[in-house]
């Protein structure tokens, strides 16, 4: 089962002839993902390392039956790449690109309302269903098939949670990096809902950070609907106010979006809050025993 991606996923890469696009297409293929081709305008008809290249997403979809795409297109053009994939009817769009202007993402967000596509990211590491399918840039070998679902705004903290749950023998169903931008596709609550409905997922790790109110919204949902054990971690308690901490969305504005308010909301929803990123796995293992 797992969520979002599985053995039936047929992936294309937008920006496959770029260095990062090709490298990660190869890594995804090595992991077992069915990478059926890629898109780079004006390079259609060629192949790179065995991947057929198409001029447009519509053409790639028609020729390969692709149902998912990962986007490595540079930031100024990435929003249009997302819209092109949605117009072509691609079910799952994973935008890895960092640095897309917020106004472009607002445009994307409102355009996607009338489409059936699901967007993950941008500025995210992607999605991995352990042992089956990987879309994005996460290191494959740290994943072990198992029972924990992970949702995170941060790439490297996703790896940290994956690594720890693998080491403790819990393993993962699907790990989803939703990205660090203020306007993005799937949010914490969307992924939590999917993981809650997934029978293979027995426990959930939620990783958030300062800025916005995604975690508070997820906490409200967890309180109402989630019976599975949930461990939460929020990064940025020691970050100064008003400073953007690397991620475009990681900023405490006035008194809103603090680590404390997020931790309080999660605790109030019955979530076990890990005080440091080092104890995410341990807390999950403890919560599973209860």
């Amino acid at each position: 089962m797992a969520i979002l991606i599985d053995a039936n996923t047929r992936l294309i890469t937008q920006g496959i002839t770029g260095k990062a696009g090709l490298f990660h297409s190869q890594k995804c293929r090595d992991y077992g993902t069915n990478v059926v081709g890629g898109v780079t305008p004006k390079k259609g008809g060629t192949t790179v390392d065995g991947f057929p290249v198409f001029n447009s997403v519509a053409e790639a979809r028609k020729e390969t039956g692709a149902n998912a795409t990962m986007i490595f297109v540079p930031a100024p053009y990435a929003a249009n790449a997302i819209l092109e994939a949605a117009d072509a009817g691609i079910e799952l769009i994973v935008a890895i690109t960092e640095g897309i202007p917020v106004v472009d993402m607002l445009k994307v967000h409102h355009a996607l309302k009338s489409k059936s596509s699901i967007l993950i990211g941008p500025n995210c590491p992607g999605v991995t269903t352990a042992g089956v399918c990987k879309i994005g840039i996460a290191p494959g070998p740290i994943h072990k098939p198992g029972k924990i679902g992970i949702v995170s705004r941060s790439g490297t903290l996703t790896y940290e949670a994956v690594h720890q749950t693998s080491q403790l023998g819990l393993g993962q169903t699907t790990a989803v990096g939703i990205g660090g931008d203020p306007v993005h596709g799937l949010s914490h609550v969307d992924v939590i809902r999917m993981l809650n409905d997934d029978p293979e997922t027995e426990g959930i790790v939620l990783i958030g950070e300062i800025g916005g109110s995604d975690e508070e919204i997820a906490a409200a949902y967890i309180k109402e609907h989630v019976k599975k054990p949930v461990v939460g971690f929020i990064a940025g308690a020691s970050a100064p106010k008003g400073k953007r901490m690397g991620h475009a969305g990681a900023i405490v504005d006035g008194n809103a979006g603090t680590a404390q308010s997020k931790k309080d909301a999660l605790r109030a929803a019955g979530v076990t809050v890990a005080e440091t990123a080092a104890e995410i796995g341990r807390k999950m293992a403890e919560a599973m025993k209860r």
Binding site: A20, H24, A75, P76, G99, I100, P101, V102, V103, M105, L106, K107, H109, H110, P125, I137, A138, P139, I142, R153, S154, G155, T156, L157, Y159, E160, H163, G180, P182, V183, I207, E209, I210, G211, G212, S213, D214, I217, F233, A235, G236, A237, S238, A239, P240, K243, R244, M245, G246, H247, A248, G249, A250, G254, N255, A259, T276, A277, A278, E279
Partner: protein, 389 residues
Amino acid sequence: MKLHEYQGKALLRKAGLPVPRGEVIFTAGEASKTLQTLGLEKGVAKAQAFTGGRGKAGGIKLFNNATEAEQVSSKLIGMTLVTHQTGPSGVKIEAVLLEEQSKITRELYFAVTLDRAKANIVFILSPDGGMDIEEIADKTPEKILKLYPEWGKGPDDALLKQAASFLGLNAGQATQFGDVARKLYDLYVSKDCSLLEINPLAVNDAGNLILLDCKVTIDENALFRQTDTGGDPDAEKDPGEIEAAKYGLSYIKLDGNIGCMVNGAGLAMATMDIIAHYGAQPANFLDVGGSATEEAVTKAFEIISSDKNVKTILVNIFGGIMHCDIIARGIINAVKNTGLKVPLVVRLEGTHVEEGKALVNASGLDIISADDLEDAARKAAKTVETAKV
């Protein structure tokens, strides 16, 4: 990227919005000629700084003639302005806006910004302008109204009517407000703003709306296409931050004594947090990013080492796209170039971790290896503790 008041007002003026006549000067000697060009005799001199509370701190002065304008400008330019927002070190004033003084009867608040949860542009309004919006939100939250113009269309008549009534505007002012609101919405989108705050949006003695002060922030992701706003992306950065940016590093200087080098913004924050958890304080945020070269890693190490407060360096890498061996080589280079004056704790995990660890071990350098994040933070905190004793 924040714009100074004079830069923001230039954008507003260009968009056809009513702002007071005014012009910026960078030396007091320009005052007289500038007033002549503006056709102004008396007016107000406003220190240009990224802070609120300028008036109370002595950063806004009235003048009655050109001689007085020159006098107050010469006092303001070069002064260090300390407000409740700047902290004790204050900010240095490099420019003064000379402006006509508006006689006003009311002060309103109007901001256009992003509502992240709704993924929409929001108008924030209050009939009680002139003070911080946080203060209004604290004391009289009922005096704040949030309205959401439809994306792609901007404010419609119903929204504008509701806003005008909330602000207590008469019919003529309501019409002016509609024009202001539509233009600000368009400006927000076309200039990739992340904040357009007009405070106060004033009613002058003739009963007309005038945009008296503004805070404008431009989305840094959009700077590739917003090249004519007049803003300086490096204006608020410390020299280390500017240097780091050249190498694709995201660095923010903090006040603690454990220097950190981490990959990924989330893990970098979490590393700062865990250092604080074990009773020490981080000296910086530093994300080397996913595709840093050996050279960038060396640079990162040098920037951290150059901070005199740093008593220990903690390297925490979870290799994904970033390979541990690249990090290891960068560190070894840096140490060979600049020497190692403080304890260095290194935790490597993920892609090419074995190669990375082997390089560190073979280097013969005095590096404290850590098994995981917890071990690394404990060891780093301990070195600082020992140093105290």
